[in-house]
């Protein structure tokens, strides 16, 4: 008889994943506000691809469809990947990335619960290595581009690859604030002048910094619902802040203030949604701190000294490799084998 306890909390994997999706909504809403509805198209595309790939892989692996298709985990992978790539990316980019994430990064490693790497970040890494040029055209935030595309134009570009006559891609897209910062610094432009460029807002990129606030809101909800703990966001953001702060203090002319790094790129998405993935992350509280601190440091290093526009994805994957080691060395003492100040 496979019963141990006769009662259980009415909690399911599916409900947990659903709450993660819910928590992404404020960020997505702000995204749409600043960049238009194109992101919804990529999210939809990614979701459909994820479910279809999941179903196909479950079939191939002879697993029951129902419990696994309903667990919502594939959707979380899909949404996180969609939010990590440019919204105006061609449709096949989203499809290829998602399909790879689900089939290779998730199912070839044994499916739900067994993937050592964050599938969304694998998908992202594959895309940025294979199709770098498609990964750099980000929509300009509302009110910043020379022209703005309507929804129909966005759809036409995503699915057909052509823009309305007379409009060039460069007119509606920009490099990311992080990317711009790096290239402009390489051109020896003074930092002050760079940050004066119109794409920069109060903290980091105009628009994207507000979207980051949306992710924080979702993160607080996840903390409140106890789906994530404080360890990963605190250690990740703290380390990123301190590392950036040290460089900034040493050389203010070349290193941007730490708050910039916290609100730029995928930092907040990483802190609350990507690095908190339980499956590819460590399980012990101390392990979570080490894991996230490592990711924070690596994110900074890759952003500032590396060749990629953002560092969160590679930092996550690099730290994913260390998870078994971290877990093995951070096992908390068991009952009776510790001093808990009781005498």
């Amino acid at each position: 008889m496979l019963i141990s306890t006769f009662i259980s909390k009415p909690d399911t994997v599916s409900a947990i994943m659903l709450r993660v999706l819910l928590a992404l909504l404020p960020g997505i809403a702000l995204y749409v506000w600043y960049y238009g509805p194109a992101i919804l198209v990529s999210i939809t595309l990614a979701s459909i691809t994820a479910l279809a790939t999941e179903a196909a892989m479950l079939r191939l692996r002879n697993r029951p469809l129902k419990p696994f298709l309903g667990d919502n985990s594939a959707l979380v992978t899909a949404w996180l990947l969609a939010l990590s790539i440019p919204p105006l990316a061609p449709w096949w980019l989203v499809v290829v990335g998602t399909a790879f994430a689900i089939s290779v990064a998730k199912h070839l490693y044994g499916g739900l619960g067994n993937n050592p790497f964050n599938p969304s970040m694998i998908g992202y890494a594959v895309l940025i290595i294979s199709f770098p040029s498609h990964m750099t055209h980000w929509l300009s935030p509302h009110g910043l581009g020379q022209t703005e595309l309507g929804f129909a134009d966005q759809l036409a570009f995503i699915f057909g690859g052509h823009l309305p006559s007379g409009i060039k891609l460069d007119a509606v897209t920009l490099a990311t604030p992080l990317d711009t910062l790096k290239t402009q610094l390489q051109l020896d432009r003074p930092l002050k002048e760079i940050l004066g460029m119109p794409i920069y807002g109060a903290l980091a990129g105009k628009g994207s910094e507000v979207v980051a606030l949306g992710y924080i809101l979702g993160g607080v909800y996840l903390l409140f619902k106890r789906i994530i703990t404080w360890h990963v966001p605190a250690a990740f953001l703290g380390t990123l802040f301190v590392t950036a702060g040290i460089f900034h203090l040493v050389d203010q002319a070349h290193y941007v203030a730490p708050l910039f790094h916290l609100t730029a790129g995928a930092a907040m998405l990483g802190a609350f949604f990507i690095l908190t993935d339980p499956i590819s992350g460590p399980t012990t509280p101390m392990g979570k701190l080490i894991f996230a601190a490592g990711a924070g440091f690596l994110t900074y290093v890759i952003r500032v000294f590396g060749g990629f526009p953002d560092g969160v994805a590679f930092a996550t994957l690099l730290m994913n490799i260390c998870v078994p080691l971290i877990d093995a060395h951070t096992q908390p003492p068991v009952f009776g084998k510790k001093d808990r100040g009781a005498k």
């Binding site: 008889m1 496979l2 019963i3 141990s4 306890t5 006769f6 009662i7 259980s8 909390k9 909690d11 399911t12 994997v13 409900a15 947990i16 029951p64 419990p67 696994f68 667990d71 985990s73 499916g111 739900l112 619960g113 067994n114 339980p278 499956i279 992350g281 399980t283 012990t284 877990d327 096992q331 908390p332 003492p333 068991v334 009952f335 009776g336 084998k337 510790k338 808990r340 009781a342 005498k343």
Partner: protein, 547 residues
Amino acid sequence: MRTLYQFHGGVHPPTNKTQSTRTPIAPAPLPGKLVIPFHQHVGNMARPLVKAGDRVLKGQLIGMPEDGVSSAVHASTSGTISSIGMEVVAHASGLPDLCAILIPDGKEEWVTHTGMDYRAAASADVRLALRLAGVVGLGGAVFPSDQKLRSGKHKIKSLVLNGAECEPYITCDDMLMRERATEIIRGAEIMRFMLDAEEVLIGIEDNKPEAIAAMRQAAAASDDKMEVIVVPTIYPSGGAKQLMRILTGIEVATGVRSTEKGLQCFNVATALGIYRALRFGEPMLSRIVTVTGNVRNAQNFEVLIGTPVNELVALADPLPDTNLYIMGGPMMGVPLPSAQVSVVKATNCIIAASDKLFPPPPPALPCIRCTRCADVCPADLQPQELFWFAQSKNFGKAQEYSLFDCIECGACNYVCPSHIPLVQYYRFAKSEIRALEHEQTAADLARERYEFRQSRIERDKQERAEKLAQKEMAARQPAATPEAAPDNSAQSHIQAAAERAREQAATARPKNIDALTPQQQAEIAEIEARRAKAREMAHPDAGRPKE
């Protein structure tokens, strides 16, 4: 206010206790027959003293405690022993055990019995009296109480009385404390005296206000230093280690006796049993059992040991869709193999279950490493790791991750969003490890024998070779000195081999298992015994000469 301590984790399942506390404890009527197992306690089975056809009196000793950890078994009422044989008993294994079947004569005719003055008697005599009265822990562990009342080399500071009763549905201790607080306190005084403890701490969860009030009143009237301490309701606060931690802040690690830390813990019902055994000479013939769940009239009953479960639950009027009876609570309870089994000393609660009351869990999904289980584990384990190792049969790793520290409380199971039957995996891993260790010891012996034989063959060969060499030498050089002592070298060779084998045997033994308390070792031995019995029953002809 006393400072209370917390243990890590814990859960808050719905308590479902009010159903069975609306009416006082009722005596269950004499059943048609009593099925009394000879093995209701941890340790060695009691030796039957009666045979079919014997007339027995209420309270008569029918099972004599065997050597070491063991306890006595008595006739719960007067009547006739109709048979002695193997019957299915209330145990998780579902295996039959030796039982006496007693047909009551309805006279309730007592054997002569008198109490004793525990203060005047020698401690050993008092303990013997408890042993012969069949007094065992009624909290569920059924460990013979006499074993725990030795005032050993360690000074006992606090005697902890466990009235927490944290498992949902179970209310037998609650009702007992409400109705018989004074007798419980008398029992506590006896235990305090025998252990020479400084104080008695009585822990009761805050969801039992009536019991708290009654116990406070009774404790205040005692000359001993007693304190009723209200502890927060959180499962499993009633685990002995968890309660000791809450009340004193002390954690008793696996393999450490609580007495080494100056603590000893008893269940409140055990205190009452001790009192009645010493004051009146009454053996443990009955206990309070909560009958609840899918029944119309949930209630506590005072039940004679041996009463068949179906006769007992009939008193509470089970609903027609009842399809299972659980002994114990919904967290740690075990499904009964049949409703024909009888109430034993470990039976604190019978829950009538139906699919509506306890819906079967959805199919288990893989572990998503969410660590909710680790967050609630009162033993500070990493249940998700234990599960991983148990599932992949990596038992060495499971032990390294302290599998044997798991108290099987089920808290992890309760919260797991993937609905993995975690405890089931732990039980499986534990029993596999014990079986392996068993085989290991056998294999060690075989290896030792083999190595010994090898070394003897080697020695013979060497001796022969040396003799040959000597002969040759002698032939060539008549004056050679017999310096090398071949016998000695061969001897030391054998010794070395034997030592090596012993060393290997020592290191090959699983680590975690040596450091267990006598209680746990007794439990393990018991499991082994059951296992052996099961094997025997599976091959009844094995070992029996063919006719």
